[in-house]
């Protein structure tokens, strides 16, 4: 008996919504970024599983995941550069202290 496709989808759903919870509840910017990474990763898993189970002769999901990994690396690098710059200016990376540009 092979593993049904929905099992993979359930796993990636749990991963995604753990990321959603972290994105809303955490205050540290790095923790928010880590939650974002969880969400991106679960979507990658979905692409791969759909590709493998539903369209095994195609490569679309494979390449979407490949490019998505590259883009998330770029996004992380830029976001961390911004966060370190913020830390240099206000010595703190909690989101509720970031109100200098608000008004």
């Amino acid at each position: 008996m092979e593993i049904p496709m929905t099992f993979y989808l359930v796993v990636s759903t749990v991963m995604f919504f753990a990321g959603v919870y972290g994105f809303i509840a955490r205050k540290n910017m790095l923790a928010i970024l880590i939650s974002l990474e969880l969400m991106l990763n679960s979507v990658d898993l979905n692409f791969v599983v759909f590709n493998r189970y539903l369209y095994p002769e195609a490569l679309e999901g494979f390449f979407f995941t490949l490019f998505s990994i590259g883009i998330s690396a770029a996004e992380t690098a830029i976001a961390i550069a911004i966060i370190i710059n913020i830390y240099r200016n206000i010595k703190n990376i909690q989101v509720n202290n970031l109100d200098k540009m608000k008004y």
């Binding site: 593993i3 749990v14 509840a25 969880l38 189970y53 490569l59 966060i83 370190i84």
Partner: protein, 169 residues
């Protein structure tokens, strides 16, 4: 025999993913959150290997586990002291987050389990590396030279942007 081993590996990997992704967002120490994220990413790479996408699993391990997590650990160490604990988030935020997560997860799980997917059956077999290379570098339909070049421009812009943003003035 091989199928049973496959199932055991799958359940192990999915248990790792579920447990550690929840721990990632609930632990109060940032460095531990990054470490748990590393475990989640490794288990995801394991699932890619299990689905016979070996190239993708290798990319996941090298870029995510080797690159991104190192970046996270460095920036965590730069911006907080080791052993710092985050404050408990406000109750409103916790309940809001829990509500959003549980409502969303309930809806998605309901839809996933109810929907009938067409002829979903696993077909094993590794993709030839040559095929991947041709698809990545071709101009035809279902070939990906344009997104490849776009990503290379994006990465260049990202390098320049990272230097510009993070340098000392």
């Amino acid at each position: 025999m091989e199928l049973i081993a496959n199932q055991v590996i799958f359940y192990l990997l999915s248990a790792i993913i579920v447990v550690f992704s929840i721990l990632t967002v609930t632990t109060r120490r940032l460095l531990r959150a990054a470490t748990y994220l590393l475990f989640v990413l490794f288990a995801t790479a394991g699932i890619y290997f299990q689905l016979d996408y070996h190239f993708l699993g290798a990319v996941q391990v090298t870029i995510y586990a080797g690159g991104i997590i190192v970046l996270y650990v460095f920036s965590i160490l730069l911006t907080s002291r080791v052993g710092d604990k985050a404050d408990n988030p406000a109750a409103l935020k916790i309940w809001g987050g829990l509500f959003a997560a549980i409502a969303g997860a309930g809806l998605s799980l309901y839809l996933i389990l109810k929907h009938q997917f067409p002829q979903a059956s696993l077909q094993s077999g590794e993709i030839d590396m040559k095929e991947i290379g041709h698809a990545l570098m071709g101009f035809e339909k279902y070939q990906y030279i344009l997104p490849f070049e776009a990503v290379s421009i994006l990465l260049l812009a990202c390098i320049i942007g990272g230097i510009m943003i993070a340098r000392k003035r």
